[in-house]
């Protein structure tokens, strides 16, 4: 029982960060219809930029966060202008490949700038708390709190402001949005900016636990089952999907690994694969995820 609660709580804490990263992903998809497979690299770069802010520029933590957001935001806009704008109206494969290629290029840039070494990123305290029968680290509480804060801030922005409305309008109908004078490419820039910033925040939060490395970009791939489960175009789906994946991972390690281990799968190791298997099953039942909209297609 103790184990169950511990796994549940750590799953929720990590899952919120996944949800945050998935949010950036969903946003780009909604506004520009582009599957951003480079989200993992935005996460990784965010962590590196923050590392530079703290360890090279010797900024304090708040400034380092702002520095990271500013640099990532600019990067998001540059990506949007250089790589994404030419893709308007291109076939799906081109769009998907472009983001994949982008992810490879960003990894190249990161290696060029920071080398491929692993660095520690210690920004939160290292104390531990007992909450509801589980032990949680200060780092994961911060990660949870900041993710929730970011999600709420984002939701308010999306619902209440002119920019947010423009994004929602573009997400619904690009041509109609153009017809009322919304500049679509600005909205693209906007969504990439936000995707880069929430990605960077997610990167900092994750790296504060596991250190900064190129491999951090693989955590970006965790976003994919999240959005498959939640639905590519649903913001609440992203958050809930994130939490589901966080919990599912932990439960898979805790309860399924021993089972499959007995079946002959050495050591289990379902952590990464289980969310995908779950996503595959959900897709069979609900091809648009739990919260995704079913698109009505016309010939």
């Amino acid at each position: 029982m103790d184990m169950f609660i511990q796994l549940l709580i750590s799953g929720v804490l990590v899952g919120t960060v996944y949800g945050l990263i998935a949010l950036g992903f969903v946003l780009v998809y909604k506004s520009s219809g582009i599957l951003n497979l480079a989200q993992g690299e935005l996460v990784m770069l965010g962590a590196y930029i923050c590392y530079t802010g703290i360890n090279v520029l010797h900024l304090n933590i708040a400034l380092a966060f702002l520095f990271t957001f500013a640099v990532s935001g600019v990067m998001g806009i540059v990506i949007s202008r250089v790589a994404i704008r030419p893709l308007v109206g291109q076939p799906l494969l081109s769009v998907i490949m472009m983001t994949i290629v982008l992810s490879i290029g960003l990894r190249g840039i990161a290696i060029l700038a920071w080398g491929a070494e692993t660095e520690g990123l210690s920004i939160f305290g290292h104390s531990y708390y007992h909450i509801a029968g589980a032990v949680v680290s200060e780092q994961s509480i911060w990660a949870f709190a900041l993710s929730v804060l970011a999600v709420v801030a984002f939701a308010l922005y999306f619902q209440k402001t002119k920019g947010g409305r423009a994004m929602r309008a573009v997400a619904e109908d690009q041509q109609a949005a153009q017809s009322v004078g919304i500049k679509i490419i600005n909205v693209f820039d906007h969504s990439w900016l936000i995707a880069a910033v929430v990605g960077a925040l997610g990167g900092i939060l994750l790296a504060s636990g596991s250190g900064v490395s190129i491999e951090l970009s693989h955590l970006g791939l965790k976003v994919l089952p999240v959005v498959l489960i939640g639905g590519l175009d649903s913001i609440q789906g992203a958050i809930i999907g994130g939490v589901i994946v966080g919990i599912a991972e932990n439960m898979a390690v805790g309860y399924l690994d021993p089972v499959v281990s007995d079946w002959g799968l050495v050591g289990g190791g379902l952590r990464n694969v289980f969310p995908y298997i779950l996503a595959l099953f959900i897709l069979v039942v609900r091809p648009h995820g739990l919260f995704g909209q079913k698109r009505i297609e016309r010939i």
């Binding site: 599957l35 290629v101 490879i104 840039i109 050495v266």
Partner: protein, 356 residues
């Protein structure tokens, strides 16, 4: 459809459907095959290094042909091709090393096994489309590689060694002989692909790619044909994987990473989707650039800037791939095959090449 020589008209449907239409084309084809046969023995490419490279390009061509049928013709994006290659490779490795099956039995079995696995993963995949499909195939990749690395009989994380292929009493031991074998299979698979896409099945694929709802209305069942496309594509991947494992003589899960799948898609884009020639051009072009960058330039660059050697060379390959594929996506989404068409057209229509 400007791929017919000017002034050449087809007098019958049989002729219209023929793969090779004119005598010149027959001639060129024979010369090409002749060149391919001579290359490992004479000329600048007659070294182990280049033969190794050509073998790898040929294996890539097979895999890309499969992906081309699925993605280029049927419009279904797949990131799972590397994993299906792994299925073919491991089928071969296990049957050959543990059960002693000969090459001629292993090769088709590898294809069929990959087809079977592809079929299983195609069932959820054909229900979804677009981006969901892309991620679903990604899921297939992770699950397959996970199973390979976790199971005992696949050699797990250790890998499996296998012997050189043999047919009857001939052992394909030298690079040259293995090259011949691979080229032979590649030609057969390419002709097969060409045949698939010009038949009714091929047109059904294209109908689904262009609009699967419309295809459905026209009586093409998208579900069946998508499954078929997935299966054919996986079959090609299986054959390619089988040849690759014979080439390496070693099966290891790390050889079939996601990067490989991405490379295959990149090659498809550079070559030109929905074109049999494109798959060949793309494979040669991208692999050549990759080879030159990784093997020749990146260490040289590293030696030039010793303090940054690691960074430079590691980043270079990634950036070059990004540049090539990115440029093609933005400036020439129809790929090299389109350029080739233009070239051919301007040659045929010369001096009246105002068609373009």
């Amino acid at each position: 459809m400007f791929n017919k020589p000017a002034g050449t008209f087809n007098a019958s449907y049989t002729k219209d459907e023929a793969i090779v239409r004119t005598r010149t084309q027959w001639g060129l084809l024979i010369i090409l095959v002749g060149i391919l046969a001579v290359v490992p023995y004479y000329g600048p490419l007659a070294s182990d290094y280049w033969i190794n490279f050509l073998i790898y390009v040929a294996i890539t061509v097979i895999s890309v042909q499969g992906l081309n049928i699925l993605t280029g013709y049927c419009g279904q994006i797949s990131l799972g091709q590397a994993a299906f290659m792994a299925v073919g490779a491991y089928t071969t490795a296990i049957l050959s090393s543990k059960a002693g099956w000969p090459f001629l039995a292993c090769l088709p079995m590898a294809g069929l096994m990959a087809t079977a696995v592809g079929f299983i993963f195609a069932i959820p995949a054909v229900r979804v489309k677009g981006f969901y499909l892309a991620i679903t195939t990604l899921a297939a990749h992770f699950v397959i590689i996970y199973l390979i690395i976790s199971l005992e009989f696949t050699g797990g994380s250790i890998g499996i060694y296998i012997e050189r292929p043999r047919i009857g009493s001939i052992i394909f031991d030298s690079p040259q002989s293995f090259y011949m074998l691979v080229i032979g299979v590649t030609i057969v698979m390419t002709v097969f692909a060409k045949n698939i896409v010009r038949t009714k099945v091929g047109w059904a694929f294209i109908a689904i790619r262009d609009n699967d709802l419309a295809a459905k209305v026209m009586g093409v069942n998208p579900f069946t044909y998508k499954l078929l496309a997935f299966s054919i594509s996986a079959f090609y991947a299986g054959i390619a994987g089988s040849l690759l494992v014979y080439h390496l003589q070693f099966a290891h899960p790390e050889h079939y990473g996601l990067t490989q799948a991405i490379w295959l898609l990149g090659i498809l884009i550079v070559g030109g989707m929905g074109s049999i020639n494109g798959a060949i051009f793309g494979s040669i072009f991208v692999r050549l650039i990759d080879e030159i960058t990784n093997i020749h330039i990146s260490p040289a660059l590293g030696n030039l800037f010793p303090s940054l050697a690691g960074q430079m060379s590691a980043a270079l390959g990634l950036l070059v791939f990004t540049a090539i594929v990115g440029i093609f996506i933005i400036y020439e989404p129809r790929g090299l095959s389109h350029r080739w068409q233009l070239l051919k057209a301007s040659y045929r229509l010369w001096p009246f090449s105002y068609w373009t």
